[in-house]
């Protein structure tokens, strides 16, 4: 049971993130929702590599015994790096949107008529 808790956390993170993206009207909250989904997926990846009682996969000076799988950790790291880029991009776009429209409400942005 104790080993299922990370998976429950994954489901909770993804669902909370989706809730935030769908039902919140503030752009910053939407961005927070996306990062929540992302951390959920990252947590899922990292959990996949863990075995009971395993140590960190460092080659030098490690105690004997099982190591957790390093590949998911590398994948998670890559995904985190991408997440940083996406986050920076979304926030800078939010800055631009705020400058242009003076609001962060998704219902109010981009509604002006075209000439």
């Amino acid at each position: 049971m104790i080993y299922n808790i990370p998976f429950i956390a994954v489901a909770a993170l993804v669902i909370i993130g989706l809730y935030a993206v769908i039902f919140k009207r503030n752009l910053i909250k939407i961005v927070i929702g996306i990062t929540l989904i992302e951390s959920g997926v990252n947590l899922f990846l990292i959990t996949l590599g863990y075995r009971e009682g395993s140590t960190a996969p460092i080659y030098t000076n490690s105690p004997a015994g099982t190591m957790s799988l390093p590949v998911p950790q590398a994948l998670t790291l890559t995904s985190i790096v991408i997440g940083v880029a996406v986050l920076a991009l979304m926030l800078s776009l939010s800055v631009h949107i705020y400058r242009h429209y003076g609001t962060l409400d998704v219902r109010k942005i981009g509604k002006e008529e075209e000439q």
């Binding site: 997926v41 994948l75 776009l93």
Partner: protein, 547 residues
């Protein structure tokens, strides 16, 4: 070293070079633009041209000679056989079979034309070194999506492409709507990609492999039903959103419509790379499971038991055909109402994606039979036709915007008097996109109509009607933008600059070439791709092989 040897070497290393050269070029661009702007533009064009040339060499070797290429990064073998007898795929590898080779042709054409077009189109904008860096990154990401044979690597390239294309969509930051479109695009593509990553993680946790061939070999939808099906659903919906299937298409008119035209034409390539990934997932990853029975449903009818055998391909075909018909109808109907030229073309692009999807759905429905093959050929042929037609129309829209600074159809008129070449290109694009003979659109649409007639005649009728509506839509554009009396505001309007004309002319020539020699194209380019979709065993055995 002789020339043949050199070409042989280039072809051997081409999967890596195709993404490495644009990447290197992308990061050299800011350094070079400190010297001179003109040198930078020419450098970018040369970089993309070289990449395209290598892509053509590779796809020639794959399509004509029938080789499957694989390239392992860092050397060594990709699959390590463990002492226990199982094999373990460890390295990142690229694998190129007919379908990939077909897609990189599209990518190469669109990228090259887009870069040539931006030479004049983006002149006068600030921050052009970043623009060209992002364009090259986007091209590298697009090629990476099309070439990779590793699921996680695919996710990385998907994200590279979406980040750089999002920044390019929002490139005109003085316009609120384009920033908004960029924000929508990044939200959509990030969430889609995250669900794709979730599916990849599921598959990795189950099968301990990220390699597509190894995964395709081990996926078993009957015994490991729940995880495989969940992963399949996540992959399909995530990638379908990126490919712009109705009802997840709403980002597409915004993104296509607000981006600079030179970006839009490469965006078409990235959208089709997502479509390619969808095909790869459905027909290579799950290819051997397509005819598996999901469930038997028993009915008691008057004493005798009727057993319904629900197979995966039936469910697939149902989903795909319903989504495709929705895509075509909604795309066409919405396009008819738009008054913004680029948004209108974007909706037409959605409708065109529906045609490909429809043809593939028809193939899945009748998997294995003769007219299924015709459907698949039509669908795949339509991918390249759509890229060219819609691309040409976007370029024309961009040219109109460049000379008039107008996007609304209500304010245009009489442009044919001053823009003769652009008008000719528009007419070619109009005929091609609405499937009029002798353009390329007709050949592929004929194949699609005839093959889906076997699935259901009504589908055929809907497809033809929507094609007629497409013609009507672009006749409307032709009438209100090009025909009519001279508008005094546009008295001094000149023809578009030469580099834009060259870009449009290249695509127009290709359209006419594809239209005049359809069988040549179908036999040499389309059929290997179709065979790659039908037969996934050669893709798998090339990696796993005898090991």
């Amino acid at each position: 070293m002789s020339i043949e040897q050199l070409i042989q070497d280039i072809v051997t290393h081409s999967p890596a070079l195709i993404i490495a050269i644009p990447l290197l070029g992308a990061f050299l661009t800011p350094l070079i633009s400190r010297i001179n702007d003109k040198i930078r533009n020419i450098f970018v064009i040369l970089t993309v041209g070289l990449t395209g040339f290598i892509a053509f060499l590779l796809s020639y070797d794959v399509l004509i000679n029938g080789n499957i290429h694989s390239y392992v990064f860092g050397g060594g073998r990709s699959v390590i056989a463990l002492p226990s007898g199982s094999s373990f795929a460890i390295r990142i590898l690229f694998e190129v079979d007919g379908l990939n080779a077909f897609m990189i042709i599209i990518g190469a054409i669109l990228a090259f034309v887009g870069v040539i077009y931006s030479y004049s189109f983006m002149k006068g904008n600030t921050g052009l070194d970043k623009y060209y860096t992002l364009i090259l990154l986007m091209i590298a990401g697009m090629f990476g999506m099309m070439l990779t044979g590793d699921m996680f690597n695919f996710f990385v390239f998907l994200e590279i492409t979406s980040i750089s294309s999002c920044a390019l969509i929002a490139f005109w930051t003085n316009k609120g709507k384009s920033i908004e479109a960029g924000f929508k695009y990044i939200v959509i593509s990030t969430i889609g990609a995250l669900f794709v990553l979730f599916a990849i993680a599921l598959l990795y946790g189950k099968y301990n492999a990220l390699n597509m061939a190894v995964l395709a070999n081990s996926i078993d939808i009957v015994n490991n039903g729940f995880i495989d099906k969940t992963a399949l659903v996540l992959l399909i919906s995530g990638l379908a959103m990126k490919a712009g299937i109705v009802p997840m298409h709403m980002w597409l008119p915004d993104a296509y419509g607000r981006a600079p035209s030179s970006v839009t034409i490469i965006l078409i390539g990235t959208t089709q790379a997502s479509l390619y990934a969808l095909f790869r997932v459905c027909f290579t990853l799950y290819g051997s499971q397509l005819t598996q029975t999901l469930k038997y449903i028993r009915f008691n009818l008057g004493g005798s038991t009727v057993i319904f055998d629900i197979r995966l391909n039936g469910v697939f075909a149902l989903i795909i055909i319903v989504l495709a018909i929705l895509t075509i109808v909604v795309g066409v109907l919405m396009a008819l109402k738009q008054n913004n030229l680029k948004r209108m073309i974007a909706f037409a692009a959605i409708a065109e994606i529906g045609y490909m999807f429809l043809a593939v759905g028809a193939w899945v429905w009748v998997i294995g039979s003769e007219h299924g093959m015709v459907a698949l050929k039509g669908g795949i042929f339509h991918i390249i036709n759509d890229a060219l037609d819609i691309g040409l129309l976007f370029l024309v829209a961009g040219a109109i915007y460049y000379v008039t600074k107008e996007t609304s159809l209500n304010k245009m008129g009489g442009l044919a008097r001053n823009m003769k070449y652009t008008t000719i290109f528009f007419v070619i694009g109009l005929l091609a996109v609405s499937g009029m003979p002798p353009m390329n659109g007709f050949a592929s649409k004929l194949l699609i109509y005839e093959s889906i007639y076997h699935v259901n005649p009504i589908l055929s009728i809907i497809a033809i009607l929507c094609s007629i509506l497409l013609l009507a839509i672009f006749v409307k554009v032709f009438h209100s933008a090009f025909l009519g009396p001279k508008i005094p505001k546009f008295d001094k309007v000149k023809e578009a600059p030469i580099s834009m004309l060259i870009a449009m002319g290249m695509i127009a020539c290709l359209i006419i070439f594809f239209g005049l020699f359809p069988n040549f194209i179908v036999e040499n380019i389309v059929e290997p791709a179709a065979n790659a979709i039908i037969d996934n065993s050669s893709y798998i055995s090339h990696i796993i092989g005898g090991a």
